[in-house]
């Protein structure tokens, strides 16, 4: 037997060596929830509040004036958590209450206006806790206006594994055929642009019809504030549509252009 030259001398017979291992400092990451709950059935599209995209959101059902929304709960495998962060989309006056569950009790960690369209980080007072649940509730302080509240993203700052890449949002397409309004003949080589406004940004897409007059725009945004479309073709009146309805998935819009 090869004998390694070390510090431990082992004598004939029984030798006892008890040791202690020092835990490594835990690494914290922003973690997306692993699930949600909507115990009051007061929310829609809950999954979109933790899909990794701030463009998409969960939306509350209508909340009456002087009323609280139902809580939206976020679940995580029990993890040491020191903070949470929220990307809310509500700019009007409101109060948001954020709570985390530990030691079998809900603890409020935030009761204030929650700024819209930015991350708000909220530390857990007194330091990290082992947490499996958090929830957010909004209050509509108006005297007469019903509100719906929107949560784009919610994340835990905890000791779990870093998250998987975000789930890509569903592909949304706009397609159709451009034809002559009088003859019905396809118009090839018509060019156009589609503009979209959402949040504080805009997006635009160019299109050209093929020999059969078909066009396709892939990977558009949906649930935007507005989608505007303009198409030019030689010999035709420019086509303008200031509010093209775009929903998730496939959208078809056939266009009949008027000759000049």
């Amino acid at each position: 037997m090869r004998r390694s030259l070390g510090d431990i001398v082992i004598a004939e017979g029984n030798n006892e060596l008890n040791v202690q291992l020092v835990p490594l400092a835990a690494e914290f990451n922003w973690l997306r929830p692993t699930g949600h709950a909507d115990p009051g059935n007061g929310w829609n599209d809950e999954r979109l509040a933790y899909d990794g995209w701030t463009d998409t959101y969960a939306e509350s059902k209508s909340v009456s004036p002087k009323s609280w929304s139902q809580p939206l709960e976020f679940l995580i495998t029990p993890t040491t958590v020191s903070a949470v962060r929220i990307w809310s989309r509500w700019r009007s006056s409101h109060t948001a209450v954020v709570e985390v569950l530990y030691n079998g009790t809900w603890h409020s960690i935030y009761e204030d206006y929650l700024p819209g369209y930015e991350w708000t980080e909220i530390s857990i007072p007194g330091g990290a806790q082992i947490i499996s649940k958090a929830r957010i509730t909004y209050y509509n302080p108006t005297s007469s206006v019903p509100y719906t509240f929107r949560v784009s993203e919610f994340e835990f700052y905890g000791t779990g594994e870093p998250p998987e890449p975000p789930i890509p949002p569903p592909t949304t397409k706009l397609f159709g055929r451009v034809t002559d309004k009088i003859t019905g003949a396809p118009i090839a080589g018509a060019v156009g642009t589609v503009y979209q406004d959402y949040d504080t940004k805009t997006a635009d897409y160019d299109l050209v019809t093929d020999s059969q007059g078909y066009y396709l725009i892939d990977n558009m945004l949906y649930e935007v504030d507005r989608t505007l479309m303009v198409i030019y073709a030689d010999g035709y009146v420019t086509y303008t549509n200031e509010n093209v309805p775009i929903s998730e998935g496939d959208n078809q819009l056939n266009i009949r252009m008027v000759p000049e």
Binding site: L5, D7, N15, Q20, L21, V22
Partner: protein
């Protein structure tokens, strides 16, 4: 006066010696968390190329080692590796 009687002429005496087993050493112990004090299961313990893992009580055990000086390594994800 002994037990072997030699007679006149050649005498043959073949013998066998029974080997004495070499001395052996056993090593055992318990691995605990330095902060929590609780036993750590599944710690990889390596000594002279032999490997074992601590059990649910944090206990490990090697037997049949040759007495001598060794380096022993304790490894577990999430802990500093201990080399003694």
């Amino acid at each position: 006066m002994g037990d072997i009687v030699l007679q006149e002429g050649p005498n043959t005496l073949n013998v066998q010696l029974v080997p004495i087993p070499p001395p052996t050493a056993n090593l055992y112990g318990v691995v605990t968390d330095a902060q929590a004090g609780s036993p750590i299961v599944g710690v990889k313990v390596t000594i002279d190329g032999q490997v074992t893992y601590s059990d649910l009580q944090g206990a490990y055990y090697f037997e049949g080692l040759e007495p001598g000086a060794y380096t022993i390594t304790f490894e577990k994800e999430g802990y500093e590796t201990l080399i003694r």
